[in-house]
């Protein structure tokens, strides 16, 4: 079948799929943006398994009209970031929950709800909503990001005007077996300001979560999230970031469990001397599919980017990594580093990686490496010879393997939260 015909079919399927879906109502400008997104989506088409970008992860569960039903998840563990002094905000099945959220006021920080912002005639969000999502489309089409712009019903809009110490900690609760969540957070960090965002949970039976974060000159954004034990859910996330001169972007994701997770990020490094670090650690067991898809664009001088991804897989779990560094003409002195590694604890599991470099500047230092391997027998014997059981030794070596990714978290208290959680999950696994 010819390309044109395939595309035609794709578009027909998309318009059929979206036929009954109305975009949410808001202010005129917001309606325009959403309407524009819907039109873009209709001409782009929803992703299909044969699309190059979805070669290793079937999008069908993400694009189906109904989410796969998935029992509510009862989390019997203390919240991951409970020990962190933060502004706590809760969403239940994709809806902001006032009762379980702290007072949103804080100095240097303005937090609102997406639908309030999109209903107001005048709002700063007007200048931001969809701008970075659209920019990301130039690199690679991300129709589900466009879908998010058209259909997101809730989320936070956060403006940061100062160095804010207290993180915002969002907990997503999944209570409804059929919740189909489309959430959008829009974050604007002004010149010299800094902000930390924490996220926990998977938010719904199916979730499509997007974050647009605009980091101005000299500003800093820190992001640490965990995608927890809610196994049956399907989750898709996008981070769209603009990283300006001398600013810093840092993001870390821990994933354990999850039948289907795809985390996409598009980091646009567009000001000189900026830094973008993104990392992920994941532990997959059995019916587990985890995909990290990263695209970093360097369009300024003397910038640094780092991607550190580690996946531990067993019992047939599948880990995917697609990571690209694009260094545009003139982006001299770019320092780009990318590592993706899979640790397979048995022969049934699989790690697939597609690292890519595309460089149009001549004075850059970019490196990428991808490895996949089994547990190091020498190290295993060394630990066992000291009396550590094979299981515990395997756990220690699992932590050892993930360490490089976890070390990307700067804040020691937060990184301890992540480590403790990991250790707990590993030890629980043994109990099972």
């Amino acid at each position: 079948m010819s390309r044109a015909v395939l595309k035609q079919r794709k578009l027909e399927a998309t318009s059929e799929r979206l036929a009954g879906n109305d975009i949410p109502k808001g202010a005129a400008w917001a309606n325009d943006i959403r309407q524009d997104a819907l039109q873009r989506l209709l001409s782009m088409g929803l992703p299909q398994g044969r699309d190059e970008y979805w070669r290793w992860t079937s999008p069908s569960d993400l694009t189906a009209a109904q989410p796969k039903s998935c029992e509510p998840f009862v989390d019997d563990e203390e919240a991951v970031f409970a020990s962190i002094d933060a502004i706590n905000i809760t969403f239940v099945d994709g809806v902001f929950d006032q009762a379980q959220s702290d007072d949103r006021g804080a100095t240097g920080l303005e937090i609102g709800r997406l639908q309030d912002a999109l209903s107001a005639d005048i709002h700063w969000v007007k200048e931001n909503f969809s701008v970075l999502e659209k920019r990301a489309q130039d690199a690679v089409e991300r129709p589900l990001g466009v879908y998010n712009t058209a259909f997101a019903t809730d989320g936070l809009v956060i403006k940061v005007v100062d160095k804010v110490e207290k993180p915002v900690n969002i907990t997503y609760i999944h209570n409804d077996a059929t919740s189909d969540v489309v959430l959008r957070h829009i974050i604007k960090i002004e010149e010299g300001a800094s902000f930390t965002l924490l996220e926990t949970g998977a938010s719904g039976a199916r979730s499509n979560l997007a974050i647009e974060v605009d980091i101005a000159e000299g500003a800093a954004f820190n992001h640490i999230r965990t995608q927890g034990r809610d196994h049956e859910r399907t989750a898709l996330s996008h981070i769209f970031a603009s990283i300006a001169k001398e600013s810093t972007f840092k993001s870390f994701t821990l994933t354990a469990n999850g039948q289907l997770t795809r985390n996409e990020s598009f980091l646009d490094v567009n000001g000189d001397d900026a830094v973008a670090h993104i990392a992920g650690a994941c532990l997959g067991d059995g019916d587990f599919h985890h995909d990290d898809t990263v695209f970093i664009t360097h369009d300024a001088v003397n910038c640094e980017s780092r991607q550190v991804y580690k996946k531990v897989l067993r019992n047939g779990a599948k880990g995917i990594f697609q990571g690209k560094i694009l260094v545009k003409d003139g982006a001299q002195k770019t320092d780009g580093y990318q590592i993706s590694q899979g640790l397979l604890l048995d022969d049934d599991s699989q790690f697939l990686a597609k690292p890519e470099l595309e460089i149009y500047a001549d004075d850059v230092a970019c490196s990428h490496g991808s490895t996949v391997g089994a547990i190091d027998e020498q190290a295993l014997f060394y630990l066992r010879s000291r009396g550590v059981s094979k299981e515990d030794a395997t756990d220690l070596l699992t932590l050892s393997f993930l360490a490089e990714a976890i070390e990307e978290i700067e804040d020691e208290q937060i990184s301890n939260c992540i480590l403790e959680r990991l250790e707990m999950w590993l030890s629980k696994r043994k109990g099972a």
Binding site: L383, R384, S385, R386, G387, L396, E404
Partner: protein, 253 residues
């Protein structure tokens, strides 16, 4: 303490025979040195005793206090009291030395039905023992053996030994890579552990280690067998004349 009887072992994959009938008896509280040319099977003996994968025991047994340890998992042997100070200690990034030590100590205590050591007691003990080996706080915090110098790695092995208090300590070329001062330090560490209920098998190429750790018996291993045993004077003989005379003697039968 340890009795090795007619031990034969070969490489599992290649079927290459390496140990060809090792016999050795180590009494409680004794120190035995094993010397021998490169490739004679000294490290292999230590690996087979501690349970490393890749070797197949085709004949013979190794009894620790009367119990055959060759069928046990490595961790079971450790709990039974076997300790091997590695010729090449392994680096484990991302796992703190301290975490590793505590995990090991508690795993062994648990296997023996003892209570875990409290964090406080453990810390006190580690600090005291580390200090006597001149291992500083920084080395305790760092990932296991990562970026340690050769000598630091060996000292770290002895620290583990001191913490685990094994019955049978096998030291595989612990002296290699040590400077004169470190050699003294390590030897003192070993000597401090000497006890009437603890035995040592010290694999070495050099007399100088045996100046510090005085052996009761010295054995020469050659081509997968112990071909000669004697007192400390045997080590001096090797030091002065090398192995050629000894080997010629053996080959002549």
């Amino acid at each position: 303490m340890l009795e090795i009887k007619n031990l034969h072992a070969e490489l599992e994959e290649e079927g290459k025979k390496i140990l060809k009938g090792v016999n050795l008896k180590v009494g409680a509280g004794e120190v035995h040195a094993i010397m021998g040319p490169n490739g004679s099977g000294k490290s292999t003996t230590s690996y087979v005793l501690s349970g490393r994968d890749g070797y197949e025991v085709t004949e013979g047994e190794a009894l620790l206090e009367g119990e055959n340890i060759l069928d046990m998992e490595p961790e079971e042997r450790a709990a039974a009291g076997v300790f091997l100070a590695f010729q090449y200690p392994v680096e484990i990034p991302g796992v703190g030395n301290m975490t590793f030590l505590r995990t090991a100590v508690n795993a062994q205590r648990k296997a023996r039905g003892e209570d875990e050591l409290s964090a406080g007691d453990f810390l006190k003990e580690v600090r005291a023992k580390a200090k006597s080996l001149q291992i500083d706080a920084d080395m305790l915090k760092r990932p296991v053996n990562v970026g340690f110098s050769g000598g630091e790695k060996k000292r770290n092995e002895i620290l583990q030994m001191a913490m685990l208090e094994p019955k049978l300590c096998i030291l595989d070329e612990t002296d290699s890579g040590l400077d004169v001062d470190a050699m003294k330090l390590v030897s003192e560490g070993v000597n401090a552990l000497r006890d009437e209920n603890r035995s040592f098998v010290v694999i070495t190429h050099y007399q100088r280690l045996l100046d510090h750790i005085k052996p009761d018996f010295v054995h020469i291993m050659y081509n997968g067998q112990i071909v000669k045993s004697g007192g400390p004077e045997l080590a001096l003989e090797v030091e002065n004349n090398g192995y050629s005379d000894l080997i010629a003697e053996v080959e002549a039968g």
